[in-house]
Symmetry: C2
């Protein structure tokens, strides 16, 4: 049964990767994803596995982006991975997921990130994932669409799931040294299983939720990209985007647990760092106080804003 479940999730993740790549290629209209298929045999207690890293670079619309699928396993869970669950030490396990980061060229189109993942070790399992949006020039109606999509993905499953996942997202994507959120947030969840306090959803419902998140992300982000990709911009907005992308780099290299764990555990560095922007800039002072004044409130004082109550178009 554990194997059947693994196969079902694996099949969905393959489908999700294909549909995301197809949607983004269609939006880009010029470049295609380059697929890098990899395999690593499991050596003793080390991680074995396979995956496909799909990267699109120097597109018309997407300056750089990646959709990575990985399916890894090991014969013995290391103690470090099981600090919260000592009963798992030494068990065989499997971990799989799809991760996405897209960096558009046009500063009016937000950068976006999505991840869905599934972990199992015998009869123990859990799901995690979420999506978040990082705009440079904010459009309120995009923020509304985004948070409504996030809420809609959660609503069929539990009345409190959205509030919980939104807060987890807000707490996680925060640059302490800047006192700023990475972006507008969205949803994030971890350790979702039948025993999860408050939500306790059976396996089938958790898997359904994974699909609602993956598919909901694709629809919402593609709609925002389609709305904004033809928006005019100049050197000024471009420069501001490059400067703000520096914050994206800072978050991913200083705080992101997945990135740091991957780099420390000898993962495939260029695949892990596909989340890095194509080009980023640093300066001692922000190059644009006016664009800061438009963006920063969303990342600071208005971080807790209730988007679902907002009156939108």
């Amino acid at each position: 049964m554990a194997e059947d479940r693994g196969s079902a999730v694996r099949a969905y993740l393959g489908e999700l990767q294909r549909s995301l790549c197809a949607s983004f290629e269609q939006l880009d209209g010029e470049r295609q994803f380059q697929l890098d298929q990899w395999q690593r045999p499991a050596a003793a207690e080390a991680l074995g596995g396979e995956g496909i890293t799909a990267v699109l670079e120097e597109g018309a619309l997407f300056e750089r982006g990646g959709v990575a699928l990985s399916d890894v396993h090991g014969s013995k869970l290391p103690p470090a991975a099981t600090a919260r669950n000592p009963g798992l030490v030494g068990r065989a396990y499997r971990a799989m997921g799809v991760s996405v980061v897209m960096h558009p060229r046009n500063p009016c189109v937000p950068t976006s990130h999505m991840n869905v993942r599934f972990f199992s070790a015998g009869d123990i399992w859990w799901f995690g994932g979420g999506f978040d949006l990082t705009p440079y020039i904010v459009h309120e109606e995009d923020a509304l669409l985004w948070h409504r999509a996030a809420s809609a993905a959660c609503a069929p499953f539990h009345g409190q799931l959205y509030a919980h996942a939104r807060k987890t997202c807000d707490d996680y994507f925060f640059l302490r040294h800047r006192g700023e959120a990475r972006g507008l947030g969205g949803i994030f969840y971890d350790d979702l299983n039948a025993q999860a306090p408050q939500f306790g959803m059976p396996w089938e419902r958790c898997f359904e939720f994974m699909r609602a998140v993956g598919n909901g992300f694709r629809r919402a982000y593609c709609e925002i990209v389609a709305r904004r990709h033809a928006e005019p911009y100049g050197e000024r907005e471009r420069r501001y985007q490059l400067y703000r992308r520096g914050r994206y780099v800072e978050f991913n290299l200083v705080f992101d647990r997945g990135t740091l764990f991957g780099l420390q555990s000898g993962g495939r560095t260029d695949a892990i760092l596909m989340s890095m922007p194509p080009l980023a800039q640093w300066a001692y002072r922000s190059p644009d106080a006016e664009l800061d004044a438009r963006l920063l409130p969303y990342l600071t004082s208005q971080r807790g804003r209730d988007w679902l109550q907002a009156t939108g178009p």
Copy 2:
């Protein structure tokens, strides 16, 4: 006496900052450093202090660089800062230093970093510091000049000091996830005081060594810059430089203890991150296998090379 020593070091650091800024401005010929003088009153156990952050951006020769002086103190050393020396907990202390990172525009001119620092808590004190070079297009004769300058700074003090400080530098400036050194190395040392195993130099000699390092760095780096700044280059070398600068960002945000400590302890973020390059690029594959083949051996297989024995010009 501790106060006199502090004043003497502080005076030298001020002089060093001024002479570095003057030398770099002269080389640049177009832009000057912008000085940001700051002060923070000591609040309870928190850090107080003052300093001058000098930043030069968008120069003709230097695309971005900084020379930072800081002189901080506190009334009670936190336990985390004194893990190796529990006798220091709760003591009043003072820490000061000058840090430099210069990012030239021309890819033929290497990026360089230098730091000298002094710590004291009553009768306990130590010195630390060093300098290292990060080229994009390597010139062997620059590497020779650099390592000879490093050796010359150490030679008058102890026969083994250079070998020790070179190894410390090689070990420290290494990107484990890339299997690459950050650059060609140089020297680095820490915890240098009268009790330091092997070197045990009295305070006056340690302070002399600090000055040899600061002044030796200025002469050596300025000579390399003067040699290379008019070297012709094209889009190809520029692209490669931006790509390699990504590694500089990775080192500083993932590994550099000073950077991470500064960000975690609520330091002045933009001053700490003055080490970031003005512009950096990421790509799934290196944009230039030929330039890689010229640079990478210095950062991998030839890392331990004995530059002092090399026959150079």
